[in-house]
């Protein structure tokens, strides 16, 4: 497994993300998180991308993003933000069950949000304190229940 010190990430003139392995070979790459919810900053697979955009083999597995140089870290973080636009719910104002959907009114790290969840199964308890919610438009929200206030927790309790 290649470690971060041996890889540098850059964008070429066309804006394509590329990895240079040990200062030699260069590949267009896409970073994929091994554990997008439970270990977002750790274990990234760097996958070679073909010209048509298909994902090819994994060329490196980086155990910790911090092992990359600062510029590479920044570029990877940008790319990951595009791939995993996960919104963190910080407070729950209300959850209302209607006949058609479950309506949420929450505060997130990106501001106040209102969304609908169609099915109970779109609320997934990944780990005891980690809940991922997919709304009716496919947008995903993450809740770290350990960080929620008691009122939000009480509202969440019956849906998890």
């Amino acid at each position: 497994m290649l470690t971060g010190e041996k890889i540098s990430i850059y964008r070429d003139t066309s804006g394509i993300l590329k990895a240079k392995i040990e200062g030699g070979e260069e590949y267009p790459v896409r970073p994929i998180r091994c554990f997008p919810f439970t270990g977002a900053g750790q274990y990234l697979g760097l996958f070679k991308i073909e010209s048509d955009g298909t994902i090819n083999e994994e060329i490196a597995l980086i155990s910790d993003l911090k092992k990359l140089d600062e510029n590479s870290q920044k570029l990877i973080a940008e790319e990951l933000n595009k791939t995993y636009p996960l919104t963190q719910i910080t407070k729950i104002h209300s959850i209302k069950q209607t006949t058609k959907a479950i309506k949420w009114h929450v505060d997130t790290d990106k501001g106040e949000r209102r969304f609908e969840v169609k099915e109970q199964r779109d609320i997934c308890v990944i780990q005891p304190n980690l809940i991922v919610i997919k709304d009716s438009e496919g947008i995903r929200y993450q809740i770290n229940s350990a960080k929620l206030d008691p009122k939000s927790l009480a509202l969440l309790e019956i849906y998890t």
Partner: protein
């Protein structure tokens, strides 16, 4: 005599049930006090009918209007007060009853399910899934309900019965005796019907458990059902079991509907007698109208508890039956247990030896007949033979899922029965044909045998099993939530996750039991390469009747009817014709 011992057994079960309440003594006392208070308060409004009638509505002797109105105002305030206090106390005790019920239920279910996990494979082979589900979920719930609600109701009924009895005796003991007249008859009827009801309820629970089994099996085997176009047949099977339980339920209802109206009729007759005798006494001025109103009010309140007390017998019988089933399960000793002086083997070398091993399932004929075998670390042993030859049993004996009926299976010179089961199983990996994945993430499924595994260990195991690449292509990679049974993954992918789960434990002995029987060629190739790579320093058993799998082994055993009929390298056996004859036979039978 038999009846007495049966009764004693039932009482023992019920007393044992109370053991689960021990930690909640103080709560039980509070609930009893609150329930008693609420019950006593419920008697007050009827009693207040006497002053309301005799001092307000129709005083037998003239009372000034101001006094009557003052009494009326006072009584109205008292009615409201008693109702508010009574309802509040009753609500609080109701909440605590539910709370206590859940606590006891959780303890019971924990004990039953925990014990179930410890029982041996043989036990599960003999029991129906639906029945076990019934024990864990329904029977425990019925016990919980009995302790918290039915016994509490009995307590309330007794308070009512005694309380009303005392009040009525105070007013007129003769009419009270009239009220008590049907009680012996009610007890007699309860005994007669109660016995019948318990047997009917037992049968009903059995039928419900059977229905559960039908549903469980059909859903678990839905692929087989669909590919055999057996939906209609399954529906018929379900309808039959549903009908059987409905018939039994109706039988219970029939008994109850004979029992309850008989009691109702007796009570009604007595009520009429009270009207008659009471009315007679009112007319003759021996009883005031208010006292008669109190009698009438309490009369119906009085028979409620009598019915409740009499039905407790049937409910007790029902609960005793559920308790019997639950405690029977709890008393089932796991057939395979650690010996008292069991050895905790820190690290196995992987030397496996069978000495004259025989095995039979219960009283049936031997599945294995005098197996002698030694496998050394670093060796890949192929085991083949027709279905029912004892191949899987051989593997399960190493894991101590079963114990040999005769002879011994040893690992590194220790009889497996002398080792701690956990220390043995932590160092043995078993890959089955049927992949079993649980609801949870991919990572959780891989780390099932070692929950404390680091993320790096999980990734390494997945890589070693050839699973990492496809996992990284799943929507959330290792955090992807898998449905029950790994829905959404191909058979090969599921098998690779199962192998990763085994490899994460880094076992010294690995058994592949028909592991490639349901996978595609690509997965088979990956599994073969994995086996070759893993064989260094490990003992590997490959149970298969595919020549491609046997080719990678160092030695092949051919088992037939529980005996090793041939043994040698794949090439030697192929040359001698034994293996090819067997494989040809197997493959032909498969084609057929």
């Amino acid at each position: 005599m038999k009846n007495n011992s049966e009764r004693f057994k039932k009482i023992k079960f019920i007393l044992r049930l109370f053991g689960y309440c021990r930690s909640y003594k103080s709560y039980i006392i509070i609930i009893f006090v609150l329930t008693g208070l609420a019950t006593l308060l419920s008697l007050v409004p009827t009693y207040m009918m006497k002053p309301l009638t005799d001092r307000v509505f129709a005083p037998p002797e003239p009372i000034p209007i101001e006094d009557r109105l003052w009494t009326l105002h006072l009584l109205v305030i008292l009615f409201v007060l008693v109702h508010v206090v009574g309802t509040t106390v009753s609500s609080i005790s109701g909440y605590y009853k539910e709370w206590l019920g859940e606590k006891i239920g959780i303890n019971l279910r924990h004990a039953v399910y925990g014990h179930l996990q410890k029982l041996s494979l043989k036990f599960f082979n003999l029991e129906k899934v639906g029945e076990l589900h019934s024990r864990v979920c329904y029977d425990t719930m019925s016990l919980q309900y009995f302790i918290v609600f039915e016994l509490m109701e009995l307590f309330m009924d007794l308070i009512m019965f005694v309380g009303i009895g005392i009040i009525l005796c105070y007013f007129n003991w003769r009419i009270t005796i009239l009220l008590l007249m049907p009680v012996p008859l009610i007890i007699l009827l309860s005994n007669t019907f109660g016995e019948k009801l318990i047997f009917t309820y037992r049968r009903l629970y059995q039928k419900i458990a059977n229905m559960d089994s039908v549903v469980f099996n059909a859903i678990k085997g839905i692929i087989v059902v669909k590919t055999n176009v057996a939906e209609e047949r399954e529906l018929v099977r379900f309808d039959q079991s549903d009908m059987a339980s409905a018939t039994e339920k109706l039988h219970c209802t029939k008994l109850s509907s004979l029992f309850m109206p008989s009691i109702g009729f007796i009570i009604y007759l007595c009520g009429i007698l009270v009207y008659w005798l009471g009315g007679y006494k009112v007319v003759r001025g021996e009883l005031t109208l208010g006292e008669m109103m109190v009698f009438i009010g309490y009369m119906w309140q009085f028979y409620g508890p009598v019915s409740g007390i009499n039905s407790i017998y049937a409910r007790y019988q029902n609960t005793a039956a559920a308790a019997e089933r639950v405690f029977k399960l709890l008393d089932t000793e796991p057939e395979i247990q650690n010996a008292q002086d069991a050895i905790d083997l820190a690290r196995l070398q992987g030397n496996v030896r069978f000495d004259n091993v025989k095995f039979a399932y219960g009283d049936q004929k031997n599945v294995l007949e005098g197996i002698n075998l030694e496998v050394k670390p670093g060796e890949i042993l192929g085991v083949t033979g027709p279905s029912g030859a004892g191949k899987s049993t051989l593997a399960y004996l190493i894991c101590r899922l079963y114990d040999a009926s005769a002879g011994s299976v040893s690992v590194d010179g220790y009889d497996v029965r002398s080792l701690k089961i956990e220390s043995l199983l932590n160092q043995i990996g078993l890959v089955l044909q049927e992949t079993i994945l649980f609801y949870g993430t991919v990572a959780e499924n891989i780390a099932y045998g070692k929950p404390e595994a680091s993320k790096m260990e999980i990734i390494s195991a997945a890589k070693a099993a050839g699973a990492h690449d496809f996992i990284m292509r799943l929507s959330d990679a290792y955090d992807t939530l898998l449905g029950e049974g790994g829905v959404g993954l191909s058979g090969g992918e599921r098998q690779r996750i199962s192998i990763a789960r085994v490899l994460l434990k880094d076992p010294k002995i690995i058994i592949f039991d028909e592991a490639t029987a349901s996978v595609d060629l690509a997965t088979q190739t990956i599994i073969q390469a994995t086996i070759k790579r893993l064989s260094k320093g490990r003992t590997i058993f490959v149970i298969s009747h595919h020549s491609d799998m046997l080719k990678i082994t160092d030695r092949v055993l051919i088992l037939d009817r529980g005996k090793i009929i041939e043994s040698g390298t794949y090439d030697d056996l192929s040359k001698s014709g034994g293996l090819s004859t067997h494989l040809l036979k197997e493959n032909n039978s498969e084609e057929i």
